[in-house]
């Protein structure tokens, strides 16, 4: 393998990881923009999605069905969590909400251990994408190519949804000024629940997508949360564009770090984050800080 094809293969790996981070961080960023909550349980949604997918596949043998069922199941859990626990806290300081979601990390992780056991489980990729393909002299698992295409399609779809539809306009109005939106006749309570459930569902979806390359285990939720938060810090809280650009940067930094600087690989993404915060505290595409 030549140097260039090696670089190319790494870049594709980084892109696959990047779109995974994008699906996760976009939920985080939407929830924050709307509800002003940093949802620390977002990694738990990712974990729940992976396990829901695992069970669906075990029962039906159909990966595509898992991609549908898992987000729905996790979305319902998210909606319940918002309605019963987060809603009573909106009038309190945002800190209480952050801490509440922290409690849910323990709850969800132990529930998963209880139901599925603590062992590492793997999800087999769908039949159609189980082989590898040659691209520019590099051998790439075709599942990763599927992930990249799927992630980019999702990015475009989300952009269209938020910028070009009536529903998106309502969401943007809610992010900008929830009280005013409510005054204009928007049922803001419903929008809050909807956005939280939607973000949770995206987290669950990313768990299923990640399954075939990262395998499922109970601590996976607490593990992925930190890179996802870094993406949000780098891209800027509440910004869809920031979430996309941040994911791609962090995905590449992590992957190339692992390949070229194995001694310092885990630290690189933090260096990237520190640089961004130093030069632009609100993140690349974030609103200016108050």
């Amino acid at each position: 393998m030549t140097f260039l094809s090696d670089v190319f293969a790494q870049a594709l790996n980084g892109l696959a990881y990047g779109v995974l981070l994008f699906l996760l961080s976009v939920g985080l960023t939407l929830i924050f923009g709307m509800l002003d909550v940093v949802n620390l349980a977002h990694g738990s949604f990712y974990m729940l999605g992976a396990y829901a997918g695992l069970t669906t596949i075990a029962m039906t043998g159909n990966y595509w069905l898992a991609m549908l069922v898992a987000p729905l199941a996790v979305g319902v859990i998210g909606a319940l969590m918002e309605r019963t626990c987060l809603r009573p806290l909106y009038r309190r300081s945002p800190l209480d909400q952050v801490l509440l979601t922290f409690g849910f990390i323990y709850l969800f992780e132990d529930l998963v251990k209880w139901i599925w056991g603590g062992k590492i489980r793997s999800i087999t990729p769908p039949e159609a994408f189980s082989a590898s393909v040659q691209v520019f002299g590099a051998t790439v698992p075709s599942y990763r190519l599927f992930m990249i295409v799927f992630g980019l399609v999702m990015a475009v779809a989300l952009w269209l949804l938020i910028e070009r539809t009536r529903l998106g306009a309502i969401i943007r109005a809610g992010v900008f000024d929830a009280e005013m939106a409510a005054g204009m006749g928007v049922n803001i309570d419903l929008v809050f629940t909807g956005v939280f459930a939607f973000g949770a569902a995206l987290g669950g979806l990313s768990g299923v997508i990640a399954g075939p390359i990262q395998s499922a285990s109970p601590p996976m939720g607490a593990g992925i949360l930190v890179p996802a938060l870094i993406v949000v810090v780098v891209g800027g809280l509440g910004s869809l564009k920031g979430s996309l650009v941040g994911s791609l940067i962090i995905g590449q930094a992590e992957t190339f770090g692992k390949a070229w600087l194995p001694g310092a690989s885990m630290v690189i993404i933090y260096v990237v984050m520190a640089l961004v915060v130093l030069l632009r505290p609100q993140g690349l595409f974030g609103r200016a800080l108050k």
């Binding site: 509440l100 409690g103 709850l107 984050m273 609100q282």
Partner: protein, 307 residues
């Protein structure tokens, strides 16, 4: 006042005399409560007084723990056990604080969290810190001619240091400096307008809290004779936050109560069931939802109802 002093005296006597009446395991639990109590208390200085929600306090616990482990292995004395860990953590807190206090609110939460994870990642990866196993076989020091390898001198040493750290924090929050921190928590903009250098106050609070957190980490190494990367992991910060919230924020002694509740509950529950994390998570959620003032808040409400 006199009743309070008497109560405090009785409590100290009970803690000091505890090994005379209890077995090795309860004594170890008490010592853990003291160390985590100091750690949670130092976090309460940030959370309950300056209004800074740090999810990265584990960085200082870990730094204190690792520095003590390395230093004690090369020379087991007071310098290695206390002075060097405290100085190194103070320096680390200064650097992290310079970055983190540039931002506030959720950005502060995420930045502190990321910094502590950076240390976790580093400690987990490099060989000179023992990678994922951490550092094991740390000797206990000899200080002022006392061999702390023995149980009784170690117990007294631990109590003395924890009491000093708590006293120091108590003095800090009651000083004019502490009142400025309270003011910042109430209304940062107004304090700025009145002419206080808010960022500098926050930085100093961050360094004080970090340094004491580092001392707690160093004591933790000396108690367990080992330290692993888990000390850095962000859930360590989260657990300290749990202790502060369960006990009651902005009260200092609530943090110690919270640490005691956390550790006793953990040892009690895990002897009956494996579902400790589930119960912990649920307890915590219930506290946030229904008892935001924590144990101290509930006690105070009851006291008010009676009078």
């Amino acid at each position: 006042m006199i009743a309070r002093l008497l109560g405090l005296g009785a409590l100290v006597t009970a803690v000091v005399a505890f090994p005379a009446v209890a077995g090795a395991y309860p004594v170890k639990l008490l010592q853990e409560i003291l160390i985590w109590g100091v750690f949670a208390m130092s976090l309460d200085l940030l959370l309950g007084y300056a209004g800074m929600v740090s999810f990265g306090h584990s960085a200082f616990f870990g730094i204190g723990g690792y520095v003590a482990a390395l230093a004690l292995k090369s020379s087991p004395g007071a310098l290695s056990a206390l002075v060097v860990p405290a100085l190194v953590t103070a320096l680390a807190a200064l650097v992290i604080g310079l970055f983190s206090t540039r931002v506030s609110g959720v950005y502060f939460i995420m930045l502190t969290l990321a910094f502590s994870q950076m240390f976790y990642a580093y400690a987990f990866q490099v060989a000179w810190l023992g990678a994922e196993d951490g550092i094991i076989g740390v000797p206990r020091p000899t200080i002022l001619g006392l061999n702390l390898g023995q149980a009784t001198p170690f117990h007294l040493y631990l109590i003395t240091l924890c009491a000093l750290a708590m006293l120091l924090l108590w003095r800090v929050v009651r000083s004019p400096f502490g009142h400025v921190l309270r003011g910042i928590q109430e209304n940062e903009g107004r304090m700025e307008a009145v002419g206080y250098a808010v960022r500098r106050y926050k930085l100093v609070a961050f360094v004080i809290a970090g340094t004491i957190g580092g001392v707690a980490g160093s004591l933790y190494t000396q108690l367990n004779l080992t330290i692993s990367p888990d000390a850095f992991f962000w859930t360590t910060s989260g657990e300290a936050l749990l202790m502060v919230i369960i006990g009651g924020t902005g009260t200092l002694w609530g943090a110690v109560l919270g640490a005691a509740a956390f550790i006793l509950l953990q040892s009690l529950v895990s002897s009956y069931t494996e579902r400790w994390m589930l119960i912990l998570g649920a307890t915590f959620i219930l506290f946030v939802l229904f008892a935001p003032g924590g144990i101290v808040g509930a006690l105070r409400r009851r006291a008010r109802v009676r009078t």
